[in-house]
Point group: C2
Chain length 418, copies 2
Amino acid sequence: MQQVPNAEIITIGDELLYGQVVDTNSAFMGQELGKIGLRVRQITSVSDRAAEIVLALDAARERADVVLITGGLGPTKDDLTKNILTEYFRTELVLNEPSLRDVEAIFARFNRPMLEVNRQQAYLPASCTPIRNAMGTAPGMWFEDRGTVFVSMPGVPFEMKRMMTDIVLPKLKEHFQTPAIEHLVIQTAGLGESFLAEQIADWEDALPPNMKLAYLPSLGNVRLRLTGTDDGQPNLRARMEALLPALRERIGAYIFAEEDIPLEEAIGRLLTERGLTIGTAESCTGGFVAHKLTSVAGSSRYFLGSVIAYDNQIKIKQLSVSTETLALHGAVSEETVREMAEGARKNLGVDVAIATSGIAGPDGGTPDKPVGTICIAYADAHQTVSRRFSFNRGRQINIEYTTTAVLNLLRLSLPPVQ
Amino acid sequence: MQQVPNAEIITIGDELLYGQVVDTNSAFMGQELGKIGLRVRQITSVSDRAAEIVLALDAARERADVVLITGGLGPTKDDLTKNILTEYFRTELVLNEPSLRDVEAIFARFNRPMLEVNRQQAYLPASCTPIRNAMGTAPGMWFEDRGTVFVSMPGVPFEMKRMMTDIVLPKLKEHFQTPAIEHLVIQTAGLGESFLAEQIADWEDALPPNMKLAYLPSLGNVRLRLTGTDDGQPNLRARMEALLPALRERIGAYIFAEEDIPLEEAIGRLLTERGLTIGTAESCTGGFVAHKLTSVAGSSRYFLGSVIAYDNQIKIKQLSVSTETLALHGAVSEETVREMAEGARKNLGVDVAIATSGIAGPDGGTPDKPVGTICIAYADAHQTVSRRFSFNRGRQINIEYTTTAVLNLLRLSLPPVQ
């Protein structure tokens, strides 16, 4: 098997070093390069100073077969990357007609006058292959120089991502003739990383040498990514898929999708398949469950609405929770959260409802119900299900964790498709 | 004035290069180092391989007076940093009693048996000054070697942050005797960065040479940070504060805080001062406004609840919006959103309410009301105020921008303190 090509990423901009901007571009590029079989060896963030950028380029070319560079391509005088690369590769700026037409088209679309600084963006180093920018005015540049590929892209995340996906990744695959790589993503919720690993240890150990499993955990949710590398045998993807039934046998109840979508989107599909509408009744999550559900495009087809009830009077009036239940068991109890879910179903006119009540913290805990005590419930026409658990890792994490837990309870409680 | 010391940051971990984890530690460290007057020259992320870590250390020491390192301090066999540093500085591991007591205390607190791997965490390089970890089991390490300071900290963000704040930053200030630096943060909302810059251009141009203004924009909100460096004259902070009245004259209406707190926290204070309770009625923001308000600890003292009404029937039933208004003007209209705010006030029993209705996208637009058409309203006992605007940069950004806009409308509309 051929050597895995080394890649390096250089992100340019004082705002990264000052910490004004978190570098999310590198993580995206790292993920995408991994998927086509390149290894990212180093990520370097440097200032907008020319001498420091040149040092970073020199150092990266020593180690890497390809260097991806983002930032410094805007129209202002802080943006030095294009001029530095022109000098670095001993070439000169020439007008690139297709890029000029792209820039003109953007200004025509927004009906704004084009300035000379924008026209200058269509001048590119003579030795580069221009990369079209479908989302903005700064073209990217592809250089090949003494055995190393250099790719310069804008720092604006959505411009860079589109350029990577449409042009740079296919071109890198072709250039390096990387072996075919396939990925299967299995999304799980409800079991922590180490417990999951324990459940599938024998399955993982039996994977053939050209297949590897990665655990990508976030709050209450573990993404499994099975990566297969071409071993010269046919039907790589089909052979990977043939391993899934044994995985489902072991952890089937925790799998919510066999593709890379978030839990709220998987739930949207389950609801759509069943023709069910949903609403939420939230106390401690304060609207975050509704926010997650409505972050999915098209969610208005099944999400109807919510009642956020911090105040007990709102629990009583809007959600028909009984004063007796509140007096007897308190707001944070399975009894109350069940009535919240049932009340939301009835009052919002939805088919299924989920509810949360808990002590997110940092204040409000009691010896009996410390901060992190959370109750959740699900209600449909046939059943009401509730859970109580304890979890305390700070207010924001408590809110997010509770949200994942209640969405997962919903997933597990929905009736089968008729 | 003395030379500004150069700092470099090295973050260690394959997960950073694979893009499984976004490196947020570097931005935090960059911000904090800037505040005490150090310049971050480069940020480097490297893998868990020993040879590559050593190369990064060698390269950083060439350029920097201080190198901050995070990651690789856990108890598992992937965690190599401590052993690499021990070898790099030609020293040896010795048991550090105070660290051992710290680790033992943590296991005692969680009532779990301590394993040998955890005991090993209390063995530290003989030549380092140990740094206590108040939040976890891995101590940090401070080395001074041939004129360069190296600080190794855990990669877990909340452990690293606490260590930085409590120990590393004070120690760096003392070590480098950096000139006194003062910061004033002025938080603004409602005016874009370039317009803001225009309004205060003369004020900014007249700043003395030892004071600098930075613009830190996020969605609908621009943070201004005035940084003053010691110029040998007394009362630096007082002289900076003396410049604020002239700033307030120019952009006072946009300033929501003269300290570094988010808009939702500033609003919590305004409501508390006035003894007012609040609720929200949300369509397009889907609970995000309620989520923002309730992300503030202690918000249950003024936030009572919300109705999220995607569905028109919920707007009618829960928010008392009239069927005529909906038929005549549509759900996305100032007329409807005003009734939503007024209905929320009445039905939730709150003093003030804010409401949103709009087309977040990507679908649902019409020629008359394209995606990004947003209506917001504010209602209290004396007045109802509404606004309509257009803005389309994708569903999630539309939701966040609308949230900032309605919170800012609330801020500007609240009655004065009695």
